[in-house]
């Protein structure tokens, strides 16, 4: 039992890291749904990069390295960056992808200028600022977790309050406008909440990887459901799962940075969802395709046998496998199809390697051909 006390759950640092990462996963997962549905998945990438100058400026102006101040600076810069993207797209012929890439990289460049400038000012030390660049989940303390949870709760609360409006914005903006809802304002509110969700994650997973926390849980959740409410809940759950498991795994293996581990965890969830989600999953899709192709093949063998039999006096005339195979040259699987038909009682063996239709098989073949005739133009 004494062993149990040293389990990771009881370690303060790890508990904080896991809690913080989990909370971050919930918030970015939930808000990411709207970004992904609006095909703005990469807005998260732009916002997180654009936050860098805000962090540097906040430090430069206040001299404070407290998470609260830096996060506010990040939020302000991220927000300005997003508005700049919107303005560029609206007021020029520049497309959204270019605007995003432009703001992302130029803001990051400005941030880098400020960071290196700070570094070279003798009185200030840059230490603590580049944890935002790559994330340093291991440095999370209780205060940081409280901040993540507090701001995250605020973001979720706003989402709950504006649920209907956000839904309209995601699916039918024009309809919302026709109802008299100021969709531009709703857009700005949603974007602000997204900015909030992103900046609280920066010090955990870092600027570069934050975009994955926005896109991936939502993309995974999308595969499991067609309902917005369920999708938001699922996405939040996936985000939390990735956050917590990433934190645990990285604590158990030496020299495994937390941020990238969390991202790999969420990538695994995405991969599993793409492959195995019911209805949309690639595996089920392939299985469905295989089954229907097989059914078609069996049916066509039955009809082939019928066509052969029609050339003889009675329809139960037996034919060899080779003869049936010749009818469906190149399709393969003839013998397996004949066996499947035998099992269903539509075909029977009339000797070694000889097959003939049963009365039920004749009826089935005729009805298949009748359907084919009816459907042909």
């Amino acid at each position: 039992m004494a062993e149990g006390l040293s389990l990771p759950v009881f370690d303060y640092t790890l508990r904080m890291v896991a809690l913080g990462s989990g909370a971050l996963g919930v918030v970015s997962g939930a808000l990411g749904v709207f970004a992904v549905l609006r095909k703005q998945g990469l807005l998260g990438d732009a916002i997180s990069h654009a936050a860098l100058p805000g962090i540097a400026l906040a430090f430069l102006l206040t001299g404070s390295r407290s998470t609260m101040v830096l996060v506010l600076g990040a939020a302000a810069a991220g927000w300005i960056g997003t508005l700049a993207v919107m303005q560029i797209v609206e007021r020029s012929r520049i497309k959204e992808d270019t605007a995003l890439g432009l703001i992302l990289s130029v803001f990051f460049g400005i941030g880098l200028v400020l960071l290196t400038y700070i570094q070279r000012v003798p009185t200030a030390s840059q230490a603590g600022l580049d944890r935002f660049l790559f994330g340093q989940a291991a440095a999370l303390v209780g205060r940081d977790v409280a901040l993540i949870a507090g701001l995250g709760a605020l973001a979720l609360l706003v989402t709950a309050l504006f649920w209907k409006e956000f839904k309209l914005l995601a699916f039918d903006r024009a309809f919302g406008e026709s109802l008299g809802i100021p969709m531009r304002t709703v857009d700005v509110v949603l974007t602000s909440v997204l900015v909030l969700a992103i900046v609280i994650g920066l010090q955990t997973v870092g600027v570069v990887l934050m975009s994955a926390m926005v896109v991936a849980p939502a993309a995974a959740a999308r595969q499991w459901t067609d309902r917005l409410g369920v999708m938001v809940l699922l996405s939040a759950a996936f985000g939390a799962l990735a956050g917590v498991s990433g934190a645990l795994v990285s604590s158990m293996v030496e020299r495994l940075p937390t941020g990238p581990t969390i991202v790999l965890c969420i990538s695994v969830i995405v991969l599993a969802s793409l492959l195995f989600a019911p209805n949309r999953g690639l595996v089920w899709n392939a299985a469905r395709r295989y089954r229907s192709r097989r059914r078609l093949r069996v049916q066509s063998v039955l009809v082939d046998l019928y066509a052969l039999a029609r050339q003889h006096e009675h329809l139960e005339h037996a034919h060899s496998t080779a003869a049936v195979r010749a009818m469906s040259y190149g399709r393969g699987g003839t013998l397996a199809s004949l066996r499947a038909l035998e099992q269903r009682g539509l075909v029977r063996r009339a000797g070694r390697d000889l097959w003939s239709l049963t009365p039920a098989g004749i009826r089935e073949a005729e009805s298949l051909l009748a359907v084919g005739d009816r459907e042909a133009p």
Binding site: V113, V208, L264
Partner: protein
Amino acid sequence: MSPELEIQLVAVVVAVACALPGVFLVLRRMALMSDAISHAILLGIVLGFFVAGDLTSPLLVVGAAATGVLTVALVELVYRTGLVKEDAAIGIVFPALFSVGVILIARYAGDVHLDVDAVLLGELAFAPFDRMEVAGRDVGPRGLWVMGSILLLNVAFIAVFFKELKLTTFDAALAGALGFSPALVHYLFMSMVSITAVGAFDAVGSILVIALMIAPPAAAYLLTDDLGRMIGLSAAIGAVSAIAGFWLSFLLDASIAGCMATMTGVAFTASFLFAPERGLVAAVRRRARQRLEFAQRMLAIHLAQHEGAPDAVEESRVDHLHEHLRWTPEFAGRVVRESERRGLVRREGERLWLTEFGRAYADRSFVAD
């Protein structure tokens, strides 16, 4: 050559080499592919580093370029499933590859000189210290030779495939119908983007590569409609931003690459605001001019309507316009002055008379042009 001159030379070569493929990234709406590629090549650099053992091996460039192309292929694979949109496909693929790269560095390369900072941020100031030697003779900074070769490769690629690139960019369906393979051109082009991003990363870092690829072409896109001119302008804007960035960094004692990216941002902002036809200022002025023109037409119609009517005297007074047409007195004054100048109206004190030309103008306004 002095180190300062060498740095500027490298900066200009990097900026121009990035701007050339950037033009097509912007036009093909694939700007964010540069984001994905430049991040994902970290993995290729790391793997190449493990195989080759040092950061100067050409194997790194090959490995990283291959990773870039792999990224493009993976994004397309995910997108083609139809389960996610393209933006999400990009957002899923590159962070995963980047994470693998970071983890590999943290676990196996911690003791050698390869850290994420260096790859992400780059440091141009070190360019003059890394020399290229041929037969024991110093022939200049290595970065200059590497990027110079990539620049030449880009120029050659665009020159040879100009027609194909142009066609697949503006009308992929037509290109396919004419027998060009859009997919082949696409992958060749993406290989160029990857190679350029790899070559540029140790000068400016993988994130600022994006700025050098996207911002100059975006600025040029607002200045011209001609593809050839856009390529030339992008290269020029990139080069000027590079030199301006160098001097800004000199002034602030800050990161050269960061300053270059900042200056490309300044160049874009200038173009966004002041481009002769598409700039914000031009648009505002055009709207103001249209408003004034429309107001003159209104004035002519107004005077023509009341001409000869009993209320003509009342309706034709300048100080009455702001009541009837809801114009501010200042705006009314401007409209009247402008109309007088064009010979639409004649003014006697407060009374306005329509000229012959003005009457014809008002009549014409009712007929659809």
